[in-house]
């Protein structure tokens, strides 16, 4: 019998659990932490032989996971979300990973297939999307916030990417439409934790342009583009929420000049070998500093000057 416990946090996810639980039935220690569901979640979990721990409802904050890591009885724990599931051969393969794991390895990162609006997305932003989900039960903790990978309890986390050529994947199908996607992203943004200080608008803007640049239009068509815009906008929203949470509240720079950006990113994680287009940029100066990280990894054409942002940065420096 495999030495892996499975930990699932859930609220009102009976349908997801019906799909997930048969795919983790290879484990004899499946724990469902039920945040006071009002649907059939607890019943579905019990019927599948899982142990159910009921707790008061909380927003989807990952720090909650820490409270229940001790529930796992095996030396290794696999954490799954209720909108995810595994392949039919995952149990055997995961058992193989832990049996062969070097003692120096704390955790495995599993790639994830993300299905949105009926399509499995392949762009570099969406795949391989490695998630640190299989780990020695006493080795990790989560910091607060949504969808962060866990960190080590002490020292740094030694993570191995699931070995190829055909690694175990997490299968994730959570959003049936762009509308649902936007809805959930907004709810995560509204319930996330924002540090009281440390607000740097250019960090958010970098992420905005990084997200837009990473949609190379090669993989996921209009859907990919729509989701990229939604995610980029999500960074704007998060920037505002972060700004509001700071004490004292800092100045908010002019966000009003949003140029449109078209970009071609080189092939994501694997590298497609395509040559990036030669960068053509407006001569506004200043913005190159702000987006250096983005420029190093993509080539892109700015179709309107980013003067407002560069002005703000210049004022801030003096």
């Amino acid at each position: 019998m495999t030495e892996i416990s499975v930990l699932i946090h859930t609220r009102d996810s009976a349908d997801g659990l019906r799909r997930l639980l048969p795919t983790v039935a290879w484990s004899d220690d499946v724990v469902v932490i039920d945040m006071s569901s009002e649907d059939a979640t607890a019943a579905v979990a019990k019927a599948a032989g899982a142990r159910v721990v009921s707790i008061a409802p909380r927003p989807w904050a990952d720090a909650l996971r820490n409270d229940h890591l001790a529930e796992a009885r095996h030396p290794w724990t696999l954490v799954m979300d209720s909108d995810e599931y595994l392949a039919a051969d995952a149990g055997d393969l995961l058992a193989g990973y832990v049996a062969a794991a070097d003692p120096g390895i704390d955790a495995f990162a599993l790639p994830r297939f993300n299905e949105v609006a009926g399509r499995v997305l392949r762009g570099p932003r969406w795949y391989p999307d490695e998630q640190v989900r299989l780990f020695r039960s006493d080795a990790v903790r989560w910091e607060s916030g949504h969808h962060r990978n866990p960190v080590a309890r002490s020292g740094s986390l030694r993570v191995r990417i699931a070995p190829g050529p055909d690694p175990v994947h997490i299968h994730h199908a959570s959003y049936a439409s762009v509308r649902e996607f936007v809805d959930k992203q907004l709810r995560y943004a509204l319930t996330d934790d924002y540090p009281d200080g440390d607000f740097d608008p250019s960090a958010y803007l970098e992420r905005v342009y990084g997200i837009l640049a990473a949609d190379d239009g090669q993989h996921d068509g209009d859907l990919g583009r729509a989701l990229a815009v939604a995610l980029a906008w999500d960074q704007v929203v998060r920037g505002l929420l972060h700004w509001e949470s700071c004490r004292p509240q800092p100045d908010l720079p002019p966000f009003y000049a949003w140029p449109s950006v078209t970009a071609a990113a080189p092939g994501g994680h694997g590298g497609s070998g395509r040559q990036p287009r030669r960068a053509e940029t407006a001569q506004t100066g200043g913005y190159r500093e702000a987006y250096e990280a983005v420029l190093n990894s993509t080539s892109w054409r700015v179709t309107a000057p980013l003067r407002a942002v560069s002005d703000w940065r210049r004022r801030r420096r003096h």
């Binding site: 392949a87 051969d89 393969l93 297939f113 009926g118 499995v120 175990v168 299968h171």
Partner: protein, 253 residues
């Protein structure tokens, strides 16, 4: 009026497949057409075994009842066994994703199971140009081969053949045979697990026949990388069956 042919209570159709989503889609549409005469007569279940396709299949996009997803590529034998277990039917049709069944093919194959000793039924398969791809597998001095391969189907007789083996590209197997033999032998990496199953079945007293009444289309092996795996399978087959089976006499081939 002849007696109606007894049909199995349930029929599972197992389609192991890797990638080639468009081909799979059309193969399943042809399968659905062939299943229509069985409506109300036989309980059917179509199980696609997603054999580590780079982009996973979505059930909603396929004319199937279930997708069994494997993240790691498995041998054809292992994929078939997984599918057969999921289908759990009185008779299982193993079907390749590059076979387009004739609309009459299923009824034609199932009719042969009326004879209780028949354990495995093969299908007659043609290339796009109408020449024979498979009408039974014979054993020659160099091992298994397809007699009449490449010959126009019109010139090959249509009477049912009792054969040593049939191809797994479209192979109907009784539940009892799979149970008796423990399924396909997963030691074969690619190819010859089908012939192996047939030879073992014959050893246990089952009869293997190949239906000749109806031609279904077989594009034959669009899966890349086949040649290397074939060699390992051939070696295993030779090792297993070298002195344990008789070649077909020439007039039977």
């Amino acid at each position: 009026m002849p007696d109606p042919v007894p049909l199995p209570g349930s029929l599972g159709i197992v389609v192991p497949s890797r990638g080639l989503g468009a081909l799979l889609h059309h193969s399943l549409l042809a399968l659905r057409m062939a299943m229509r005469p069985l409506d109300g007569e036989v309980e059917t279940r179509v199980v696609v075994v997603d054999n580590a396709s780079p982009v996973p299949y979505r059930l909603a996009a396929l004319a199937a009842d279930e997708v069994v997803r494997l993240d790691r590529h498995a041998s054809f034998a292992a994929a078939c066994n997984r599918g057969a277990a999921a289908a759990d039917a009185d008779a299982t049709l193993v079907l390749n994703n590059d076979v387009l069944l004739d609309p009459r093919a299923l009824t034609s194959l199932l009719a042969h199971l009326a004879a209780p000793r028949v354990g495995i039924v093969g299908a007659r398969l043609v290339f796009p140009d109408g020449t024979i791809q498979h009408r039974g597998v014979a054993l020659g001095p160099d091992g298994p081969f397809h007699p009449d391969r490449g010959v126009p189907s019109d010139s090959v007789r249509r009477s049912t053949r009792t054969v040593q083996a049939v191809t797994g590209a479209a192979m109907l197997v009784r539940r009892e045979v799979l149970a008796d033999l423990g399924g396909f032998d997963e030691a074969y990496p690619f190819g010859l697990e089908d012939v192996d199953l047939c030879l073992h079945a014959r050893r246990r007293g089952w009869v293997v026949v190949c239906d000749q009444a109806v031609d279904s289309l077989h594009f034959e092996s669009m899966t890349p990388g086949r040649a290397d795996l074939d060699a390992a399978s051939r070696e295993l087959f030779r090792h297993r069956w070298h002195s344990a089976c008789s070649p077909d006499p020439e007039e039977w081939q």
